[in-house]
């Protein structure tokens, strides 16, 4: 494949009209958290119809593909949220959808994928990771939608940046959860073009923080990876195709602990009455820990898909 480039602003603007009617324009609200040294804003992507931002990229990628490309259906590899995004769009278009999922995927996400009418193929975590590199899997047919290393998907994700710029033109910092990097690089592409002074940081959880390690080392390195309730982000290494883009577009990676993420989930529920999954709360955890400094900090609350029993544990003050 060709080297990934920052997404041009006109492609992001085109994506915006392409996804209209599928993804919603999500609210940007203030975190109701009393007196803080930092002014925290929440971009509530958890309020998207499928509970995460992934609809934006999926809808744009499918909208760009012609009927000829779509006639044998679509497939993707995803731990959950991208699968729901692609499945939801495929159902709207009336085409078949298959999803390769790791056998570690949480039950809530698998069940949600099946409810949307997609076929699930469970594979080992290692085999699943391999699909992101090879873009093939035995028995799969139709158009493959890569969850992050795809310019159409990143253009769709970048529409979040357009909305932030309109709603809060004087934002100082944007914090984005970093899983595959498609969300962070999509938003950073937009912000760089619209507001050269803004800082865009990735957020990772300490049990799986390959971007921070890569930025320290100057190139992708293997890190220890411990699965946790923060299942939407984190992997043993930065995806190689994304590294040139991420290292160019992002100002750094802020790493938070599991306890800080759980506290942020509880704060979001108690103060703003919304549900965030671990990945979606990681930016809020980073902002509240002061890692993004002072000023106006926009946190991308990327999704809200989390098993109820894990959520209940967090609300009781435990780490699930």
């Amino acid at each position: 494949m060709k080297l990934l480039q920052p997404v041009p602003l006109d492609e992001i603007r085109a994506a915006r009209s392409r996804i209209q009617g599928r993804a919603i324009r999500t609210p940007l609200v203030r975190l109701n958290a009393g007196a803080l040294p930092v002014d925290v804003f929440l971009k509530l992507e958890n309020l998207q119809p499928i509970g995460s931002f992934k609809l934006r990229g999926a809808a744009n990628a499918l909208g760009l593909a012609g009927p000829e490309q779509l006639k044998r259906g679509v497939w993707t590899a995803s731990a959950g949220n991208m699968a729901q995004g692609v499945a939801w769009c495929a159902r709207q278009l009336g085409i078949p959808c298959s999803v390769v999922v790791p056998d570690t995927a949480p039950a809530a996400k698998s069940a949600a994928i099946e409810r949307l009418g997609a076929r699930i193929i469970k594979v080992s975590f290692a085999d699943w990771l391999e699909v992101f590199r090879t873009r093939t899997y035995d028995g799969m047919d139709g158009l493959f939608i890569h969850a992050f290393a795809d310019s159409a998907v990143m253009a769709g994700n970048g529409t979040i940046g357009l909305e932030i710029q309109e709603d809060l033109p004087d934002a100082d910092v944007v914090l984005v959860p970093y899983g595959g990097g498609g969300l962070a690089c999509g938003i950073a592409s937009a912000m760089r073009a619209l507001n050269p002074n803004i800082k865009v940081y990735a957020c990772e959880v300490e049990t799986a923080a390959p971007l921070a390690a890569a930025m320290t080392a100057g190139n992708p390195v293997e890190v220890s990876y411990t699965p946790s309730f923060v299942d939407g982000i984190g992997s043993p290494a930065v995806f190689e195709d994304m590294w040139p883009l991420a290292s160019k577009l992002l100002d750094g990676s802020l790493v938070v602990g599991l306890t800080e993420v759980a506290d942020a989930i509880r704060t979001l529920a108690e103060r703003n009455h919304v549900i965030a999954e671990g990945a979606g709360a990681a930016p809020v955890a980073a902002a509240l820990a002061g890692k993004a400094g002072t000023g106006k900090v926009v946190c991308i609350v990327s999704g809200g898909n989390i098993d109820l029993h894990k959520l209940a544990a967090i609300f009781e003050g435990r780490i699930p």
Binding site: I24, L47, N272, H273, L308, A312, F315
Partner: protein, 319 residues
């Protein structure tokens, strides 16, 4: 009676001081119920409920002498937080008499907004306790629901819905004392008389349901419901008249039916409703309401103020 013009006037007063809350089509609930289901997210409103809409409208109608005397109210929590918030924003004194059983979060938030909180042990004599305090200090009472300005303010919820979804077939609204539904019905019927408005009350606090049966606004001897936001022990005189005139039906839901709607909203909409905010969906999920044959239905999620420990108990899978 209140008119649609009063609601427009309230909206002008509120201006951009509050959030124009989103009205969102919910995919999962629409699939489950076989028709478009929209959620009006008042849990995303400032102070976590629709209440500041009415309070701001009421305060704007006070004169300087009244404002100088300070404000007082009774509330289990959401009206208390809204009044405390609005009073602080206007630099006014605020005292709130709350039942001792009020949720810790709501009491803490009310104090956090700078109000003096008096915890009273008995739900039924709350009003008398408030009157004693009011007379002792000369405070101005800001009613939680039975007031034309408060009702007009709450009506802005209905106005926003009709602007966002003019073709709404029906709205489902929770009822405590009736302020929210009175305002909404005034706005909705003023915009489109064909749109139905249904009220939902807990079985343990059937103030409006019993008032409609009795033919006048009634007081209850006791209230008992998990929906603390709907536990008003009496219906308003004004709200009763408006509900009788404009609301298509009022139905009851059990605590279990309300409780089941809390995890349903957490999962389907990624939001935190308090039990009062889930009551309308609870009635819809069990088919308690006879809806028009087709068309989109709007469910009002009136608030989201809930202690995390109570939320945990409501969403934890049953053993």
């Amino acid at each position: 009676m209140i008119s649609l013009d009063d609601v427009y006037a309230a909206r002008k007063i509120i201006g951009d001081k509050l959030v124009r809350t989103p009205l969102l089509l919910n995919e999962a609930l629409s699939a489950r119920l076989g028709r478009p289901i929209y959620l009006k997210l008042e849990n995303l409103q400032k102070t976590g409920s629709f209440k500041p809409r009415g309070v701001l409208t009421k305060i704007a109608a006070l004169n300087a002498e009244e404002m100088a005397r300070g404000l007082i109210t009774i509330s289990a929590g959401n009206h208390a937080q809204a009044l405390a918030y609005a009073a602080r924003a206007s630099g006014l004194h605020c005292t709130v008499v709350m039942p001792a059983t009020a949720q810790a979060t709501k009491v803490a938030n009310t104090r956090g907004y700078g109000a003096e909180v008096i915890l009273h042990p008995d739900h039924i004599t709350l009003l008398e306790r408030m009157q004693t305090e009011q007379e002792a200090h000369g405070y101005v009472f800001v009613p939680p629901f039975d007031d034309p300005y408060v009702i007009a303010g709450q009506g802005t919820v209905g106005l926003e819905i009709m602007e966002d979804l003019p073709g709404a077939a029906a709205l489902i609204v929770p009822i405590g004392g009736g302020g929210l539904i009175s305002g909404i019905a005034t706005a909705v019927k003023g915009k489109n008389p064909a749109t139905r408005v249904y009220g939902v009350e807990p079985e343990g606090a059937p103030t409006m349901f019993n008032s409609l049966a009795a033919g006048h606004a009634v007081h209850l001897d006791r209230v008992n419901t998990i929906a603390d936001g709907l536990a008003a022990p009496f219906a308003g005189v004004l709200t009763y008249e408006i509900v009788r005139e404009l609301v298509d039906d009022v139905v009851l839901v059990s605590d279990a039916e309300i409780a089941a709607a809390v995890p349903a909203l957490v999962e389907a909409a990624k939001i935190v409703p308090e039990p009062a905010g889930a009551a309308a969906l609870g009635a819809l999920l069990v088919g308690r309401i006879t809806l028009p044959a087709e068309g989109p239905v709007v469910v009002i999620v009136s608030g989201g103020n809930l202690d995390p420990a109570r939320l945990a108990a409501l969403i934890a899978p049953q053993q």
